[in-house]
Symmetry: C2
Subunit: 419 residues, 2 copies
């Protein structure tokens, strides 16, 4: 066993030991831990900002882009936001212990499903230090221990933040090991973590497509895939075009760099001439580059021609590919072929078309007459989210506290035996 | 791409194409397929039995044990049972399309969870041909395509059975590709299947610990682990000893070769002298070998001493390890240390001890005053099961039709955009 392997394994082992006790702590005990963590972040502001300044300096020396440096950067307001995030989690209902269902069998056995924590959650993520605090808070509230492995750019910030919140939590009665941070930046550390089936119950990677794919291909621990969203909006022949306009502008422009932003607009041929020139002009005003199919180019002469690759691309930028389609079936086929099953929308006033789209589109979230930007734990009413699952197993779409739990069957008998 | 890789990939691709259409077929259409499959099994009895006779001959030549040959063997009654199994699935409620929940957001959006199929399920399993038919029927009812990979001993039986049921299903309107069977016995075929993330949504291995571990370690496709059950029964100091006696006998003897049978008996010290000699005598009558801790040996002098390894062992046989414990905490600690989180039981009349055991034991099923043998889809009221999950992600415990589905979020709006 290498030294890194030993260090990572020891942290995971401690997390598993803590998880055993965490699983049946009361909501009040866990909330006390969360409040202590929030207070400690604010009380140790200077230390956090000093560590972050070192990360920023190293980032600048490494030539990180302005956008990346901004994501890495902490200031007093951002640390306060992190603390407030933890206090918000205190306000959320505790999913643990809920009896999801209970029924009586003919032999008198009562069989029920009790919601229980997953155990130990491994988080592998990139730059932003706020993910560290969010993940620790949500995992704790749902009764899980967490082993965090953040990106190397934020290593000093994350080391400081996790030491501060973990100490505060432990002083408030949370079992030691509940919040473990892997302070080794070597690739080997992540690889060891991904294969610790004995101690880690589930891995949640958060970051770019490269990170997610590495985890999916390497891990033997079960993974919840998050991420890539090549989202479409289909403007049907029966669309209310004023709704279509505001939905398209919102889905593309309100925050283009996130996974639930729209990347491709599909427009029914019969409304192309009335809809496309107007929406294109509004998108252009907002700096959106359009890459269109040949028919789109007839209506929007200034657009660039779309290449086959563009239909597959999650631009995460002010770029939109646009295609004119002959009808609903062609739109559905396009989404099936190029989509990533994240968030897909139809704009229509037609009842049957809305139902067909809802039924036939296979995605985490399917919308009628609304922006794809709503695929979010907060927007769906979960209070918070730890990521958006794009896989079908266990959790799909925004993952809140409930998705950080599993069930166990509880069975009450009076001496029943099987015949 | 090797020839095997090409062949397996092509089958998986066809399954995925079929899954798209299957996902929104009506219950009536799927049930028609199931009935046609059942009828075809009975109508082609001679062909199935002839193929099975060849498997049996090859098995005898290979020196398979009598038990294995019996599991492999088909006769008229067993084929009829397989057909009846499919007809039973027709009678089960279709989980697809159910709206699990729906709620209104302050902005007027209605957000709901619709139950939908997983997509394509890969089944990797060992000998028994009836698993082939069970799995195909349950996957079809839940709207999934299935790619089956059975053991080499049953290759001729499985090839015949899958050709017959698939042809019957397709003739009844089920899309071609819905039931694919990999008729290659090379290890490479399974390995290719385990890594076809593009086409396979989930893998369910069924078989011995070796098979399960190989799949967990090799697969990049998400896996639902099934299987190993090192199950305990704890007889508390406040147990009703007559209930304890019938539960222990049932959990050990009723069918010792299955995963929900008891492997270790834990007895509270204060009832050891009254309970152990009597239960040991009754177990002995039934041919059970006892391996006891030193204290057990005082009460049951004829028992063999238990080695450390025995506490970890799933005997799947008429062997029972027995340990005397000082109390509930020691019982819980023993189960935490040696158990496999499958099925665990306490026998007690004490309210607080029952609650503590239920809360603190982390297992797929936790029992008070009942035999662990009830961990089964049929016994829990699911009508049928495709296996018993021993992992925490997605499904835990017996998996029925519902566990072969996932959800998608459906969102109804009136033009809502995100602020």
């Amino acid at each position: 066993m290498t030294e890194i392997e030993a260090a990572v394994t020891e942290k995971a082992r401690r997390a598993k030991e803590a998880a055993r006790r965490l699983a049946y702590m009361s909501t009040r005990e866990k909330d006390a831990g969360l409040l202590a963590m929030a207070g400690a972040l604010e009380a140790n502001m200077a230390e956090i900002l000093a560590a972050n300044a070192q990360d920023l300096e190293a980032g600048r020396a490494k030539g990180l882009s302005g956008a990346l440096l901004d994501r890495l950067m902490l200031n007093e307001a951002r640390v306060k936001e992190m603390a407030q995030g933890l206090r918000d989690v205190v306000g959320l209902p505790d999913p643990v212990g809920e009896i999801a269902a209970m029924w009586l069998r003919p032999n008198g056995l009562e069989v029920g499903q009790m919601r229980v924590p997953l155990g130990v959650i491994g988080m592998i993520y990139e730059a932003r230090p706020n993910v560290t605090v969010d993940a620790a808070g949500l995992c704790l509230k749902a009764g899980n221990a967490v082993v965090l492995r953040g990106g190397s750019e934020a290593i000093r910030s994350n080391t400081a933040v996790t030491r501060i919140i973990a100490q505060a939590a432990y002083a408030a009665g949370i079992p030691e090991g509940a919040i473990e941070f892997i302070d080794r930046t070597e690739r080997e550390a992540a690889q060891v973590l991904m294969r610790l089936n004995e101690y880690i119950d589930v891995l949640i990677p958060r970051g770019g497509a490269g990170l997610i794919q590495t985890v999916v291909k390497t891990a033997t621990v079960p993974v919840i895939e998050t991420g890539v969203g090549n989202c479409h909006t289909y403007v049907d022949e029966f669309a209310d075009l004023s709704k279509a306009e505001s939905i398209v502008i919102n889905a593309k422009c309100q925050r283009p760099g996130v996974c639930n932003a729209m990347e491709t607009l599909l427009v029914h041929r019969s409304v192309a001439s009335s809809f496309l020139p107007a929406i294109a002009a509004r998108l252009k005003e907002r700096g959106v580059e359009i890459r269109g199919c040949p028919e789109t180019l007839k209506h929007v002469p200034w657009a660039a021609p779309a290449a086959e690759d563009d239909w597959y691309t999650e631009f995460l930028d002010l770029i939109l590919s646009v295609r004119v389609v002959a009808g609903l079936e062609e739109a559905i086929d396009h989404i099936y072929r190029y989509g990533t099953k994240h968030s897909e929308a139809i704009v229509t006033e037609n009842y049957t078309n809305a139902r067909r789209f809802l039924k036939q589109i296979d995605a985490a979230a399917v919308y009628v007459n609304a922006s794809t930007r709503f695929t979010d734990g907060g927007q769906f009413g979960f209070g918070a989210e730890i990521g958006i699952s794009t896989q079908k197993l266990h959790a799909r779409g925004p993952m809140g506290l409930k998705e950080l739990t599993t069930i166990k069957y509880i069975v009450f008998g009076d001496g029943q035996v099987r015949e």
